[in-house]
């Protein structure tokens, strides 16, 4: 009981939250900074190994775009019934992938899912790069690329405005808004970390570059207040945005009058599919990265498992949507709809359909098994299948609906040309190049955010070891003890209203909380005692909690956690900073309340 054991195992609870710690091994703040920033500062041989192939893939992009601009979109396999071929498939594919980042950033932030902090930066970067890749395709599909600015309402002497009744225009607004807001969200999140990089940099160029991008961030708490408010609001606005964007992408199809597209299920089904594919891509990227960058203690198995669960959920929604489409095709009694779905599953594109079904519906079901969802290698393979399956989903939707349209004489089969393939590979090249550049120059993990969810970030946390959180001890031990506990009394509150809930829970605590006239610093001599007590409190906190705070606890404790936050703070403060006449029953009771 004399020794605080830092949480090293998954089920070890964070002493203040009563939940398992997100970051393994109880690192200090400096160690977090070091772990994230070190790979960026070191020359990375392995990085070059990946960067060169990515550049090679990227070189396909200007070539295939150049040829496309020179010749026109006839170089693609698009033909008359299938006017939307690979370009639109690739567009929807990339936009779908681009949904996980903002989902992780915004939705999980609003739900106070703290595990997001380890993966949000990378996922947001992935989002932005995926949306850039997506924007290429409709941009060049207009044919006359030099007139692509007609997509926007730019004042012009044609005296012509865009058609606001067209879902394609909604798409222009939705995707460009999404890109802008995601970029802002990403950048705002980056500012404190850019400042960290600035202050660590050794060379002038790096100091200038990071310093310029960090905009003079100095961690002022008056700034943090506005910053956190802005971040929360961005998350609150990005959440409906992320839902709207893929709904609007689905309107491109659903608003048109074609069997196979014209269904009301499209918006929710597309949103679920987008999250599904986005998390697939996040896993594909993060599983190797956490190994190469030695970040296994920050991006833990728990993170992968959580993402796998989201994949399972959204994959099941997608599977449900597939079957519902079939049901409606039969139940509606519409023979064209029925024909289309028969043709989809058993017609000339049956191969595409069954690839889609097996990758998107069957593969995620393996996640039900804990052995699968806690095994990074299995998850990696699974995520590749998800990526493939989601590309084929768009292929099936676009091609199998169009190839047998209303006029049987123009029915045709679609085959891509080499230029379709090179452009698609080129977009992958762009994606990987951008992502690798991001890995090379920007912190992959949101350093400040990870620090803020660590137990020791809580001002009420007491480290009984007094393990110095610094790289070097430039404070002598005497100084530490002198400063650490100026007064054992609770500080005089400026607003002398004690929380009513807290007060009825423990009347003694209330008494203590009453402002004492000027506490004397001489009290430092009874500091050890106080510390001992706090330790006990946290220990006694541990034992009942360890069982109670297993998985399901972690799932749904958020709502009450939120509501109780103030109360809890109050209590925790009393628990850890007041030197109460050692009263363990009270502490125990508190511990329970906290959960």
């Amino acid at each position: 009981m004399s020794h605080y054991i830092p949480p090293t195992h998954e089920t070890d609870p964070d002493p203040l939250q009563g939940r398992s710690a997100l970051i393994k091994g109880d690192p200090s703040f400096a160690e977090i900074t070091e772990a994230v920033a070190r790979p960026i500062e070191m020359p990375h041989k392995r990085w070059i190994l990946f960067f060169l192939p990515a550049l090679a893939l990227l070189s396909l992009l200007p070539i295939s775009l150049g040829w496309l601009f020179w010749e026109g979109i006839g170089v693609w396999g698009n033909n008359v019934p299938i006017g939307w071929g690979w370009p639109i498939i690739n567009f929807v594919f990339w936009v779908g992938i681009g949904h996980a980042g903002t989902l992780i950033s915004a939705v999980l932030f609003l739900f106070r899912q703290k595990w997001r902090t380890s993966i949000n930066r990378g996922a947001e970067a992935m989002t932005i790069f995926a949306v850039i890749c997506a924007l290429i395709f409709p941009g060049v599909h207009v044919g006359r690329v030099w007139a692509a600015y007609w997509l926007g309402p730019v004042p012009n002497q044609m005296e012509m405005w865009v058609n606001f009744r067209s879902p394609l225009l909604w798409d222009v607004f939705a995707v460009s808004t999404y890109f802008t807001v995601s970029s802002l969200f990403w950048y705002v999140g980056l500012i404190p970390d850019l400042a960290t990089m600035r202050d660590r940099s050794k060379t002038t160029i790096r100091r200038m570059a990071y310093g310029f991008l960090a905009m003079g961030w100095r961690g002022s708490h008056r700034h943090w207040v506005n910053y956190e408010s802005a971040y929360l609001l961005l998350a609150a606005m990005a959440t409906p945005l992320v839902l709207s964007v893929h709904s609007i992408v689905s309107f491109d199809f659903a608003v048109s009058n074609l069997p196979g597209w014209h269904t009301t299920i499209f918006p929710p089904y597309f949103v679920a599919g987008a999250i599904f594919s986005g998390f697939g891509m996040v896993l594909t990227l993060m599983i190797p990265l956490r190994v190469w960058f030695k970040l296994e203690h920050i991006i833990t198995i728990k993170h992968l498992e959580n993402m796998a669960k989201i994949i399972l959920l959204t994959g099941s929604i997608v599977g449900y949507a597939y079957s519902l489409e079939f049901f409606i095709a039969w139940y509606s009694g519409n023979e064209y709809e029925a024909f289309l779905f028969q043709n989809r599953a058993f017609g000339p594109y049956a191969w595409g359909y069954w690839i889609m079904m097996s990758c998107n519906v069957i593969t995620p079901q393996f996640i039900w098994f804990k052995k699968v969802r806690t095994n990074p290698k299995a998850l990696f393979v699974l995520s590749i299948f998800v990526n493939i399956g989601m590309w084929f989903e768009r292929f099936v939707i676009v091609v199998s609906s169009l190839h047998h349209d209303f006029l049987p004489s123009s029915w045709d089969y679609f085959s891509p040309t080499i230029w379709d393939v090179t452009l698609f590979l080129g977009s992958f090249g762009l994606f990987f190049t951008l992502f690798l550049l991001f890995l090379r120059y920007l912190p992959l993990i949101a350093i400040a955010e990870v620090k803020s969810v660590m137990p020791r970030a809580n001002p009420h946390f007491v480290d009984p070891d007094k393990k110095p959180a610094s790289r070097d001890h430039h404070a002598s031990h005497g100084e530490v003890s002198a400063k650490s506990e100026p007064e054992p009394e609770p500080e005089p509150e400026p607003e002398p209203e004690p929380e009513p809930e807290a007060s009825k829970d423990e009347p003694e605590a209330k008494e203590e909380a009453e402002p004492e006239p000027e506490p004397e610093p001489e009290a430092s001599k009874d500091e050890p005692e106080a510390k001992e007590d706090a330790k006990d409190a946290s220990e006694s906190d541990d034992t009942p909690e360890a069982e109670a705070s297993s998985e399901d606890h972690a799932e749904d404790a958020d709502a009450d956690e939120d509501a109780d936050e103030d109360e809890k703070e109050e209590e925790a403060e009393k628990l850890l900073f007041s030197p109460p006449p050692s009263d363990k029953t009270d502490a125990k009771k508190d511990g329970k309340d906290n959960g």
Partner: protein, 222 residues
Amino acid sequence: MPAIFPRWTNTLPVVLGLIAPILGAGAIFTVWYWFSPQYTDVGYQPAQPVPYSHKLHAGEMGMDCRYCHNTVEYAAVAAIPPTQTCMNCHDGLVRTTNPGGPYEGRIANLKKSWETGEAVEWVRVHMLPDYAYFNHSPHVAAGVGCASCHGRVDQMVVVSQDQPLSMGWCLDCHRNPKPNLRPLDQVTNMNWDTDAENYDPDRDPERKRKVNPPVHCSGCHR
């Protein structure tokens, strides 16, 4: 460790904040003005293989437009005349022009065309994009003067584009055609002045139908 940036850099955001809106407005103005047919197309005056002067023929000699562009009343395209049309008058000139004389160089291509039977390669001045469908005949039938779109061709030695022919310019007239309508027998009259004549197409007994130009997309983009 001194600070990275000197103190004056703190004025940069203000400067950038002032410049950014100007750049944004500049970009929009660039598109609006420099990307427009008003800027890119008006005044287009290519050199022609034969220095035919509309000023001389249509202006001073008073030839009717339809003498050469004879399909304009009935077809989508106002025909470019074949060499034969020139030869109706110029047969003698072509045969008698002295080699080395003042007109030799000017009509060399015409002469060649007449001898070889190959058309003179006139350079097209008024060009619409392929996705805009334009038909001369209904415009002539509605009483839109040639000069309304082509300008005072009777004063041009070398023909140039007078109007932008942009979509907005088309629409101005399609929405409010009256100011550009004239009596049906005045269509080719270059000197006819709409304002001076104070003409009201609604009261013209010669007109059988009201002019009702299309303003929907497929009126021109078919």
